[in-house]
């Protein structure tokens, strides 16, 4: 009893205790501010950096598919796509998970000359992010075009081969990607390989072609594509119309011939390969 009274009356270590309480309070305030103000900024920057990496990796994907289409030989190329970001150290927050899909019949190209129509249903490769702070973006490879999409808008990042010769004759190359069941989806966090194997190429000639119809979820990107190709400098008269399914390019006046090349490439994205 006496010891307790003596302890209560004693002021030994008073300054130390007060300073300790103040230091703990200060640490809590500082860590709270870091968590609520600075951590979101770090994570946003980290997610933006990841989007840059994916942009580069999708450029590699298009480049590889273009090479396979050009060489037309039974060859295969692998590239890698990084899904998700790691959490930041100490705070342990910010891990994200992304998706990579091979979608079947998600896009189609129809070319017609009034009497004959050629229609091709195409597969697409799509990356979609699930960011926590940075704007969500999708990278899509469809019919040879590389498209970036965010907030409902889309933009062409890489165009398919399209050229005009003799002022009215058009060469157009479309790449159709397909996949096997079980090898179409990769989701989560990590680096996944994309294995691409050339299958075959087919050529079609469409005389006096009048329409090119693209069924797509990204009409803005395709409109940009047709507005920026050598069509502008050709002798072909054309108008681009928005339709309920995508866009339609209608040619009038003196018509040309179109040589269409369809390259089939098989893609596998899940771990392991099916021969």
């Amino acid at each position: 009893m006496f010891m307790l009274k003596k302890f209560l009356k004693s002021d030994d270590g008073l300054v130390g205790i007060v300073v300790t309480v103040l230091v703990i309070g200060l640490i809590i305030v500082v860590s709270g501010i870091i968590q609520s103000v600075y951590v979101p900024q770090w994570l946003e920057q980290k997610e933006a950096d990841h989007m840059h990496i994916v942009s580069y990796q999708f450029a590699q994907l298009k480049q590889s598919l273009d090479i396979l289409s050009v060489i037309e030989q039974k060859n295969a190329i692998s590239i890698y796509i990084t899904l998700g970001t790691t959490e930041i150290p100490i705070f342990g927050t910010g891990r994200t998970y992304d998706n990579l899909n091979i979608l079947t019949d998600n896009c189609s190209v129809e070319i017609s000359n009034g009497t004959k129509s050629y229609s091709f249903s195409l597969g697409t490769a799509a990356f979609s992010s699930k960011n926590l702070y940075f704007v969500d973006q999708s990278y899509i490879y469809e019919a040879g075009a590389l498209i970036i999409s965010q907030s409902g808008a889309s933009m062409l990042n890489g165009k398919p081969f399209f050229s005009v010769s003799n002022y009215t004759n058009v060469s157009f190359t479309i790449i159709n990607i397909s996949s096997l069941a079980g090898k179409k989806v990769a989701g989560g966090y990590g680096t996944y390989s994309i294995y691409m194997e050339y299958l075959n190429s087919s050529y079609y000639t469409v005389n006096s072609f009048r329409f090119i119809n693209i069924t797509t979820n990204y009409p803005n990107a395709w409109r940009t594509f047709f507005n920026s190709t050598s069509l502008k400098y050709s002798l072909l008269n054309y108008t681009i119309k928005d339709t309920s399914y995508g866009i339609s390019v209608e040619f009038s006046g003196s018509l040309g011939n179109l040589i269409l090349k369809i390259t089939e490439i098989s893609i596998q994205i899940a771990p392991g390969w099916i021969e």
């Binding site: 008073l14 103040l22 230091v23 309070g25 501010i33 946003e44 933006a48 803005n220 990107a221």
Partner: protein, 145 residues
């Protein structure tokens, strides 16, 4: 009488004065120091980070084109500075976007700023884009040497 005498004696005594004064001074210093630190930390103004955005500039005829190619959407009150042969001109993004792009009050992916700047053939041109909110330069480029 005895108690009064003891109190008088205690009042006159200067035992432990230094310790008491020292303790009070230490407490005062500690409290004021941490108050200053606390106020400094609490009132730190959160710095608005420079937006992560891909902008691409080019020249088409006598127009300077700046295209938003993905990343954060930007405000329309952002500025861009065009320097032609050492002469600076400042423009507002809003004034050079088309009406369709202005509708959502944001500069978003795929939207292009088209700024006519007169005859620029053979002239040295540089461009800076400034994000007003974060007060930072988000793109700098020499677009024509």
């Amino acid at each position: 009488m005895i108690i009064v005498g003891k109190i008088e004696k205690m009042k006159r005594s200067d035992k432990a004065v230094s310790e008491t004064v020292g303790t009070l001074m230490l407490l005062g210093i500690s409290v004021s120091l941490f108050s200053v630190l606390y106020i400094s930390v609490v009132t730190i103004y959160p710095i608005s980070a420079s937006p992560s955005v891909n902008l691409l500039c080019s020249i088409e005829g006598n127009n300077i084109i700046i295209e938003h190619r993905g990343g954060k959407t930007l405000d329309l009150d952002n500025k861009f500075i065009v320097t032609i042969e050492e002469v600076e001109q400042t423009f507002i993004v809003y004034d050079y976007l088309n009406n369709e792009s202005r509708n959502d009050s944001r500069w978003d992916v795929g939207e292009r700023v088209v700024c006519p700047v007169g005859d620029i053939v053979g002239k040295k041109i540089s461009l800076s884009v400034i994000d007003v909110q974060s007060n930072s330069v988000i793109m700098m480029a020499d677009i024509q040497e």
